[in-house]
């Protein structure tokens, strides 16, 4: 336990009057300097977890430890955290620089030391030239960056980010993603990052916790979550997938309704019902053969580097992502065969028939 910087243990929050808990026995532990993404659909309790860690709401039960010390009883202002709120929550009556300087001022940092720190923080988020502006005169993206600077400048023990990039345009979002990641690894600050954008979670976090309805469904590295999802919910939430269910007819082989036999690499009892998944990018164009399905292309979406095509096979739809540099690209109406290696089939669950 002690080597972990942040430990959240069986955290529960039931709002007054609510029938079910909004956060339901959530546990995780973070080593120093790690970035955890909390990922899940709207209303699954992400903000509630952050607010409990920050001390803004009281947990119904459970423990929160920082540096091995229980902080549930520590007042908010003594927890030394930085937080970027979902709706920025900048101080509307202050300038950009005033907002960023606030935390330093509260910590009693003398005026002469504040100036350079504030300027550095503003430069970091590319707002260096706007320090004297009123925050009400900033664009949404600029406000978000101001909020990030405000939370970083105090060199917090723990950085909490509630969808910090949701209001930026695609290009700025990519830049800020890299920027936050860079700042975070440079300062070595431990961070918890809330998002419902899977790309953001996969590209930024050291580890991901996928949530649904107040519970953590799976926690792991982006790779583990993507390649070995623990269940259908996680598989469906992270990335696209072709979900195939069928009956196991031989070791490592299932008969998929309407599709035929599909080989996979996982122990499953013969006769049981299995749920399998194939990620669209695992399909390759191939000649007819085992683990290959032939059908007519009925949808084509060109996405630059990737071509997403859909085929209908025996009443089932399969989606595949093909690299556009991969030689011949099929056209609509063309008959193609998609093949997948048994090792690229994800085994999700098994139920006795």
């Amino acid at each position: 336990m002690s080597e972990h910087h942040v430990v959240v243990d069986n955290l529960v929050k039931t709002y007054p009057g609510a029938a079910t808990p909004s956060v339901d026995h959530v546990s995780f532990a973070l080593p120093k300097g790690e970035m955890l993404a909390l990922l899940g659909p709207s209303g699954c309790g992400k903000t509630t977890i952050l607010r409990m860690i920050a001390g803004l709401i009281e947990p119904t039960s459970g423990a929160i430890q920082l540096n091995g010390r229980e902080i549930s009883q520590t007042p908010v202002h003594k927890r030394n955290m930085g937080m970027v709120f979902q709706a920025y929550a900048l101080f509307p009556h202050m300038t950009v620089a005033g907002n960023v300087a606030f935390g330093l001022e509260m910590r009693g940092i003398p005026h002469s030391e504040r100036g350079p720190k504030v300027q550095r923080a503003l430069d970091m988020v590319k707002l260096g030239h706007l320090g004297d502006r009123r925050v009400t005169q900033l664009s949404g993206g600029q406000q978000q960056r101001c909020a990030i600077a405000r939370s970083l400048v105090i060199e917090p023990e723990l950085l909490l980010l509630d969808e910090p990039l949701s209001n930026l345009d695609a290009k700025l979002r990519d830049e800020m993603r890299d920027e936050i990641r860079e700042i975070q690894s440079r300062t070595g600050v431990t961070a918890i990052f809330v998002t419902h954008d899977q790309d953001e979670a996969l590209s930024m976090a050291d580890r991901l916790a996928v949530m649904s309805a107040g519970k953590i469904e799976q926690i792991g590295t982006p790779r583990e979550i993507f390649d070995a999802p623990a269940n259908e919910f996680v598989a469906g939430f992270i990335g696209a997938g072709n979900f195939l269910s069928g009956r196991v007819t031989a070791p490592g082989e299932a008969e998929i309704e309407g599709l035929g036999p599909l080989r996979f690499e996982a122990p499953a009892r013969i006769g049981s019902q299995v749920n399998l998944m194939v990620r669209p990018h695992r399909f390759k164009l191939a000649a007819p053969g085992p683990n290959a399905f032939t059908g007519q292309v009925d949808s084509l979406v060109y996405r630059g580097q990737i071509l997403t095509l859909g085929i209908s096979v025996g009443g089932k739809r399969l989606t595949a992502d093909l690299h556009t540099h991969a030689g011949h690209l099929p056209a609509k109406g063309e008959t193609v065969t998609l093949a997948v290696a048994p090792g690229d089939v994800t085994f999700l669950s098994e139920a006795a028939a």
Partner: protein, 258 residues
């Protein structure tokens, strides 16, 4: 056509509301020693007399002092009450809310008798403390109103952000909440000042000679004589109210624009 009628009706209503004021303004320039309309000749004589009237001048000074004290105290009390009402869910909250609104519902004459009966045994009749307490009773409901409105428009997340970034509850109040509700405080304070400055009914029951206010002196003066001095004084009072309101409007308006 109906639009035309509508505008005409509105104009008539305004005329009806403003007519007494207009009459007073005109009469204030009359040269005769009694109140009559229309005047036969005009001068600033009545105004000169008002400014030479030591009773009026010193009553004006007291009214301003009482008004300032009432405005300030009503804002402080209003802020505390509003914070409690907006921010805390406590038992009896509805009751407190009703008590604060009660002075809106009860006629001033009834309040006046009640306040007099309360102040008399405490030896507070005809004292600054007494008149200020009485005026607080009728002005605090207004300051609670304006300050509650301001407080409700303050985003809780902004205060929370201050807390998370290291502000003690007091620092949050001083650095975040207070500046954000300042327009409401100023508006409430000015309304309280003006109500205190204009209030006659309750004051008449509570003050006699020592702390008489301008409205009570006007009333006393009217009992013995009616001449254009009263009209001139009324015009001056209206002018003061208008100047205060415009000044505040400009002040708050400017702050908002910055």
């Amino acid at each position: 056509m109906s639009r035309f009628l509508w505008h005409g009706l509105i104009a008539l209503i305004y005329l009806f509301l403003l007519a007494p004021i207009l009459v007073v303004v005109i009469v204030s320039f009359d040269t005769r020693q009694y109140l009559a309309f229309p005047p036969e000749s005009l001068s600033f004589g009545s105004y000169a007399k008002v400014f030479a009237n030591q009773t009026f001048i010193s009553a004006f000074g007291r009214s301003v002092m009482i008004g300032l004290a009432v405005g300030l105290a009503a804002v402080v009390i209003g802020t505390l009450l509003s914070m409690a009402l907006v921010r805390y869910r406590f038992r009896g909250r509805e009751g407190v809310n009703f008590l604060i609104l009660a002075p809106f519902l009860v006629p001033h004459i009834v309040l006046a008798v009640g306040i007099m009966l309360v102040l008399a045994p405490m030896q507070l009749l005809d004292s600054y403390t007494g008149i200020i307490l009485a005026h607080l009773g009728i002005t605090v409901p207004y300051t609670v109103r304006t300050i509650t409105m301001s407080l409700m428009s303050v985003d809780r997340r902004v205060e929370e952000a201050a807390m998370v970034h290291g502000a003690t509850p007091f620092a949050v109040f001083r650095r975040i909440t207070l500046p954000l509700i300042a327009p409401g405080l100023i508006a409430g304070g000015v309304i309280a000042f003006l109500i205190s400055f204009d209030e006659a009914t309750i004051s008449l029951f509570i003050v006699s000679v020592k702390v008489s206010t301008l409205p009570t002196e006007i009333y006393n003066y009217l009992e013995v004589s009616t001449d254009p001095q009263i009209a001139a004084l009324s015009v001056l009072l209206i002018a003061i109210s208008i100047v205060v309101v415009i000044a505040v409007e400009k002040l708050i308006g400017l702050r908002r624009a910055l």
